[in-house]
């Protein structure tokens, strides 16, 4: 699998756009304390102010600065997304690869579990879980991760099944390398492009689901998050403040998701070489 990630991005304009957007948002999130003019939590008496020089995106119902909340919200989204991506990818790799290597009953049981996990609607289960648990963003990230690894695990298992029949894997086994060694030394590095794609997918899913949960009122209401912004704004939809309150948060979420989609789209040919344009032409 000789695939260079950089090469893929050089060829694909979508990928470049995605990368630029994502980099922009990341920079925004990292520099939030510098960029944001106000404390996103500080309430003032000046609620529902339209955009002005002082409040770029106006203020919300409790007089908080919308722009500051939007910028800080990016931090929450990316942090949750990143945690989900890490946890979900780790689980995908460990479980998917071990299923393929071990086989037998372990594989059968785990894969049926994966099947189940894929059809279960994650949002509903999460709603049920957080009806009982007091959520914080780490718990939310882990819960989302728990419902995000299954698809990746299945893909990685399939790839490992073909990879493990390769001569260099057999060779490693003939030296006495056990499953763990083979996985660590050969299979994971060989699968790294696919793992990267899985990571991006999980990241996107994490950002999206976190916003969705927050919008539905799950999570700490005091957290500054795009989902919370949209939820608050939606409650005051009869006011015409939505254009500077709801819209910016919605757009920010959308372009973040789109940037991930573009990146994933660029990396997609790695998983399915038939999608390559040269091949189809």
């Amino acid at each position: 699998m000789h695939i260079s990630l950089r090469g893929e991005f050089c060829k694909n304009r979508f990928g470049q756009v995605g990368l630029v957007i994502l980099t922009g948002i990341t920079v925004l999130a990292l520099l939030a304390p510098v960029i944001a003019p106000a404390d996103p939590h500080r309430q003032t008496r000046r609620s529902f102010e339209p955009p002005s020089a002082l409040y770029i995106l106006g203020t919300n119902h409790v007089g908080q600065d919308n722009w500051s909340r939007l910028v800080h919200g990016a931090r929450t989204s990316l942090l949750v997304g990143f945690l989900v991506a890490c946890a979900a990818t780790l689980m995908s790799v460990l479980l998917g690869v071990s299923c393929a290597l071990k086989g037998g009953l372990y594989d059968s049981i785990l894969m049926r579990f994966v099947d189940a996990l894929i059809i279960i609607p994650a949002i509903i289960i999460l709603l049920l879980i957080f009806a009982y648990l007091k959520p914080n963003i780490y718990l939310i990230a882990m819960s989302i991760a728990l419902f995000s690894w299954a698809g990746g695990a299945r893909i990685l298992r399939a790839q490992t099944l073909s990879l493990k029949e390769r001569a260099h894997i057999w060779a490693a086994r003939s030296f006495g390398g056990n499953n763990w060694y083979v996985m660590r030394r050969h299979i994971v590095p060989d699968l790294s492009p696919i793992i990267a794609v899985e990571f991006i997918h999980a990241f996107r899913r994490g950002v999206f689901v976190e916003a969705g949960l927050a919008f539905l009122g799950i999570g700490d209401v005091t957290t500054v998050s795009w989902g919370v912004i949209m939820r608050n704004a939606a409650e005051y939809s009869y006011m015409n403040a939505w254009s500077w309150w709801l819209l910016p948060a919605g757009l920010a979420l959308s372009i973040t998701i789109i940037s991930f989609t573009f990146i994933a789209h660029t990396l997609e040919p790695i998983m399915e070489p038939r999608l390559r344009e040269e091949a189809s032409a």
């Binding site: 000789h2 001569a167 260099h168 057999w170 060779a171 490693a172 003939s174 030296f175 390398g177």
Partner: protein, 580 residues
């Protein structure tokens, strides 16, 4: 008639013969083969009472111990009863006498015949040994080496001895003259019932002249058995190594030497420093000659060991038997070629032996111990794969690749690991420079890659290499080099190789035995010479007939080849499957 019991001989500190036990009946023909310096000449001289060293033990000739006889009695037995044909070195013949006089001398000396009678007899004998009449009156230096050899033989025969000891008897003769002499000597043996004891390094002569053949090393007899059987199926590692290094028309494997130098070790089996299967006991205890189904072998391990044995091995894929109850033995230090058309189950068999695949039924033994699921021997059996490009991970450098097995085995510091890997890289004749060891597989050529793969497979000091079509992806000149390398490694390390190939011509050059596989079964197995020259199974015949040849197929004359060629032209099924 002649019996040697625990015969030892020493020149000062140098023990040349140590504990020779050998019994010859009247009319026997026994040959002992061995390298120079293994004690052949000393043995001959000791029996003749000519040995200048200290000889101990007993030499019973017709019940009389020659060692206890006084000089005068011994002198009578010597030449009259026991004749010795000297090894023709340093001109044994007296340069100032004519050759016929030298043949006459022993007869007159022992007072058996008058001078004129002796003259007539000498003429007759010289004629018999094939010396041209016009040479009789020449001086030794006027004769060629071969002719001198004949004169020496005539001298030994002059007094009609009962036992003839021949020390490198035919060394100076050309091959056709050799055959003449062999016929003559055999006639002596059969017609006149003269007992022959042949001491030589010339294995072909030994086989032709003798009924029983033994190998002598470090003053001991290591193996003794029926001549042809010993030569074709040697059981002692030394005998086998000796035969491998002897050019002959029967075996087709490339010549291999014996590792190390001839030394006289203090204790244990004399051959153990050079033996490829020596274990601890070999260096401490002397093995006795023991009888193994009619073959006497002096080896603690009972001769060449069966390293890996597959018994009734079967692998079924959805009811189709890819390997069908295969029983196969790979001996220590040998190359066994597994030959067969593609799809005959060779690779499946190899994978089962590697424990990559679980057999449907059957058992695998490694050094007589059954191999169970945990794959205990994994480090001792290694594999070389068909395509080095696939078997070497493209992400690792040459250094990483070669040291990977060491790393898996663990318990080794990075430095030692590095040193060992460098040694391995040198062993496969690759440059050790930084430029190479930091390269990735796609920077290397096919031949270099396969060398790296071989180095890697040697890292854990395996006893058996399973090579699955290791050269089929290489072009002929590189294939030749890789094959030579494998043989060289085998010579040095003494490892066994199971060489899987569809090319019987390759198998012929590198293997000791060939097993032919067809539709999951071993259909024929035997020494290479036998499989190539006298194949029995139709599949083997077809493989031999269709093997690469530099002559036009029609001139092959086997018929099968013609049929195959015709079949190929017509696109018949027989061309697709040479065995059908």
């Amino acid at each position: 008639m002649l019996e040697l019991r625990n015969l030892t001989a020493a020149y000062g500190q140098d023990q040349v013969l140590s504990g020779i036990d050998l019994a010859l009946k009247a009319g026997d023909a026994v040959a002992l083969i061995g390298e120079s310096g293994t004690g052949k000449t000393t043995l001959g001289h000791a029996i003749m009472g000519l040995c200048e060293g200290v000889v101990q033990g007993s030499i019973l000739f017709r019940g009389e111990d020659l060692l206890s006889l006084d000089k005068e009695t011994m002198r009578k037995i010597r030449w009259n009863k026991i004749g010795l044909v000297f090894q023709n070195v340093n001109n044994v013949l007296n340069p100032v006498y004519r050759v016929i006089d030298q043949v006459i001398e022993p007869m007159v000396e022992h007072g058996l015949k008058s001078r004129s009678e002796a003259f007539l007899r000498a003429e007759k004998i010289l004629e018999e040994v094939g010396l041209a009449k016009n040479r009789f009156s020449l001086y030794p230096h006027q004769l060629s080496g071969g002719e001198q050899e004949r004169v020496l033989l005539a001298m030994a025969l002059a007094n009609d001895p009962e036992l003839l000891i021949l020390d490198e008897p035919l060394a100076g003769l050309d091959d056709t003259a050799k055959i003449h002499m062999i016929h003559f000597l055999l006639k002596l043996n059969q017609m006149r019932n003269i007992t022959l004891l042949v001491l030589t390094h010339d294995i072909a002569t030994a086989v032709r002249l003798s009924d029983r053949l033994g190998s002598l090393y470090g003053g001991r007899i290591l193996e003794l058995g029926p001549s042809e059987s010993v030569a074709l199926r040697p059981r002692h590692p030394y005998t086998r190594a000796l035969i491998r290094s002897y050019p002959n028309i029967t075996t087709s494997k490339d010549l291999q030497g014996i590792k190390g130098r001839l030394t006289r070790p203090v204790g244990g089996c004399p051959f153990h420093p050079r033996c490829t299967q020596a274990i601890d006991i070999c260096s401490t205890q002397v093995p006795r000659l023991k009888d193994y189904d009619g073959r006497m072998v002096a080896c603690h391990r009972g001769g060449v060991i069966p390293l890996m044995k597959a018994v009734e091995l079967t692998k079924e894929f959805n009811g189709y038997k890819a390997v069908d109850s295969v029983t196969l033995t790979i001996h220590g230090g040998e190359t066994l070629a597994l030959v067969g058309p593609s799809g005959s189950g060779k690779t499946t068999l190899a994978r089962m032996l590697m424990r990559f695949l679980q057999p449907t039924s059957g058992r695998i033994y490694f050094e007589d111990q059954e191999v169970n699921e945990d794959g205990r021997f994994s480090n001792r059996v290694q594999m070389i794969f068909q395509n080095p490009g696939e078997s070497l991970s493209h992400r690792l450098t040459v250094m990483d690749l070669v040291s990977e097995p060491l790393e898996v085995a663990g318990k080794m510091s990075k430095d030692i690991c590095h040193q060992k890997a460098l040694a391995l890289i040198e062993e496969v004749q690759l440059p050790q420079d930084k430029a190479l060891i930091e390269k990735y597989p796609h920077h290397l050529s096919g031949g270099e890659l396969q060398r790296v793969a071989i180095a890697r497979s040697l890292a854990l000091n395996p006893d058996l290499l399973i090579a699955d079509e290791p050269t089929s992806a290489l072009d002929p000149s590189i294939q030749a080099k890789v094959l030579k390398l494998l043989l060289h490694i085998q010579e040095n390390r003494g490892l066994s190789i199971l060489f899987i190939t569809h090319d019987i011509a390759v198998a012929r050059k590198i293997s000791d035995r060939i097993a032919v596989m067809h539709e999951g079964k071993i259909v024929e197995e035997g020494p290479v010479s036998q499989i190539i020259t006298a194949p029995i199974h139709p599949c083997t015949k077809a493989l031999v007939a269709s093997a690469p040849s530099l002559q036009k197929v029609e001139t092959n004359g086997t018929g099968t080849a013609d049929a195959l060629a015709v079949g190929a032209r017509q696109g018949a099924k027989s061309a697709l499957d040479p065995c059908s």
